[in-house]
């Protein structure tokens, strides 16, 4: 947990993230209008969505199911819960209050693991409803101030949300990015949301403060409008420097909400705490408590898929790679780990299998076209030095293009055969004899001279020599 911070003068960064996730239900949180992105404005509306006089909310059972999946996947305790009204005025809030969860949320006290076994606490993951969308017109910058009017679309109003609040355990911007990426992969794995930041179905608010270790946490600022994983990192880097610079020049941090501008790479004041509303929270009288039956909770838990972290760990153990390394991350993210298992089951070399898939299968999806046995055969060819690694790469491309095939035949067709060690030694001697100048320079320590020697070997072998093996032989000859 003690990552060295990138801030100067011993300043430590403290970050907490609040992530809002739109749930993949068919209907809204409290009414039966469709929950669909991209429809014509105001075509998924009903009395509850519009906050019409006389409308009443009724809880969506599937939203609860998905919210429990999220909570359980984040190791939370699922508990009896209630709903509150959060009261404030804004045109995208049709009832002038949002129904949310306050002192008794559905999921509490969980955690999420980051690479390097860093544990980030999850304070809560509660249910609430989304607001409508307002678009501003007029005004030069297209931003809020100085515009002429706004238009409101309530299709999104009432869409079920889960708000996931982390503890302020994040210490670097890299960890923050990893947190968002991991959270996203968990949400996708359990089918709770399509979690597309670019469409707004996953939204991050970032809380940043700085302090010197051993002193209390500093005043924090909340940053909004962070619309991509990359922006999460950039916003944190900017804001933490802004705070350090301000404090070191004698200023104090004001507790406020700031707006991240991706084009300028800066945060700006949006509103201060003094302007903040008193939300006058009180228990929602139109709803009744939700007490999930323990049998229901257990059924949801039992039906959870193996989560990404567990899949990476299992794949890494199987293939002898790092569970936090590139190949494990990429292959599991693409959902191709089961394919790798199939390749291994077909006799393939585990380590080579995972690396091949990582490097070449980006476009292949969850069920690659190349039959597992064919890829397995290729890994064996390379392992047994029947082809060089360069040749194997070529064959891999061929396999993908043709959607499979007999790799032995394909290698023969290409005229690939790796040279055995004896023949290679002879070629190395011949190259030394042909390039005495280069050999002398190389023995004197000029690494660049290697190129001429290896080049000669490759030329005389017509590309069949394994460049890496030839280099190794030259190196050992030099050191004799």
């Amino acid at each position: 947990m003690s990552e060295v911070s990138a801030l100067p003068n011993g300043w430590q960064l403290i970050v907490g993230l609040e992530v809002h996730v739109e749930l993949a239900t068919k209907t809204k949180m409290f009414s039966a209008s469709a929950n669909r992105f991209g429809d014509e404005p105001n075509t998924n509306i009903d009395p509850v969505t519009l906050g019409l006089p006389g409308a009443l909310p009724v809880l969506n059972q599937h939203a609860i199911e998905l919210a429990m999946r999220i909570g359980l996947a984040l190791n939370c305790k699922v508990q009896p819960c209630t709903f509150h009204r959060k009261n404030y005025f804004y045109p995208d809030l049709p009832k002038a209050y949002q129904i949310t969860q306050y002192d008794h949320p559905l999921n509490v006290d969980g955690h999420l693991m980051l690479p390097g076994d860093v544990r980030i606490g999850i304070e809560r993951a509660h249910l609430e409803e989304d607001t409508g969308k307002s678009t501003h017109f007029g005004g030069s910058s297209g931003r809020i101030h100085g515009s002429d009017y706004s238009l409101l679309d309530y299709n999104r109003a009432g869409v079920p949300l889960v708000e996931i609040v982390s503890r302020p355990d994040i210490r670097t911007s890299e960890q923050a990015r990893q947190y968002v990426a991991e959270l996203r992969s968990i949400l996708l794995a359990v089918g709770a949301s399509d979690a597309k930041m670019e469409e707004g179905s996953m939204r991050c608010d970032v809380n940043v403060s700085v302090h010197k270790p051993g002193t209390p946490f500093g005043t924090r600022c909340e940053i909004k409008n962070v619309n991509s994983i990359r922006s999460v990192g950039r916003a944190i880097d900017y804001e933490s420097r802004r705070q350090v610079d301000l404090i070191e020049s004698g200023g104090t941090i004001r507790q406020e909400t700031r707006h991240w501008d991706d084009s300028t790479g800066r945060t700006e004041t949006l509103r201060t705490k003094e302007d903040a509303d008193d939300y006058r929270y009180f228990l929602e009288p139109d709803l009744v408590p939700l007490v999930p039956d323990p049998a229901w909770i257990e059924a949801v838990r039992a039906a959870l898929p193996v989560l990404p972290a567990a899949r990476r760990k299992a794949l890494a153990e199987l293939c002898g790679v790092d569970k936090d390394g590139e190949s494990a991350i990429v292959v599991v993210e693409r959902g191709q780990d089961d394919y790798v298992r199939a390749v291994i089951a077909a006799g393939g070399d585990a380590r080579r299998a995972v690396i091949y898939v990582q490097q070449a299968f980006a476009e292949q999806g969850v069920t690659p076209k190349v039959p597992a046995k064919d890829l397995a055969a290729l890994t064996i060819l390379e392992r047994d030095a029947k082809v060089t690694s360069t040749q194997a790469k070529t064959l891999l491309t061929d396999l993908i293009e043709s959607g499979g095939g007999d790799v032995v035949a394909m290698a023969a067709k290409r005229g690939f055969e790796a040279l055995d060690t004896g023949a290679l030694e002879a070629m190395v001697d011949a190259a030394i004899a042909a390039e005495p100048g280069a050999w002398q320079k190389y023995c004197a320590g000029e690494e660049k001279a290697l190129g001429a020697l290896v080049g000669a070997i490759m030329k005389s072998s017509k590309g069949k020599a394994d460049g890496k093996a030839a280099t190794a032989i030259l190196q050992s000859k030099r050191s004799k």
Binding site: L50, Q61, S150
Partner: protein
């Protein structure tokens, strides 16, 4: 109005006489729980009918004055 309101609030202090430390608040007249609904789509209201009742509308949306001094 203000004097009427403060007069009322004064009157309402009669409940200060009660010892309510061990009393559970009553938030529901009838003890229901777990009222849920199936996730099945119902038809939307007709947009024209709804926007016809709106004070101002444009391009299928509700129109309001700008949010100066207001923030997202």
């Amino acid at each position: 109005m203000t004097s009427q309101l403060s007069g009322m609030l004064e009157h309402f202090r009669d409940i200060d006489a009660l010892n309510l430390a061990d009393v559970e608040p009553m938030t529901q007249p009838y003890p229901l729980k777990n009222v849920l609904r199936e996730d099945v789509v119902a038809p939307s209201l007709d947009r024209d009918e709804v926007l016809g009742q709106a004070p101002a509308a444009e391009s299928g949306r509700f129109r309001v004055p700008p949010t100066i001094g207001f923030d997202v």
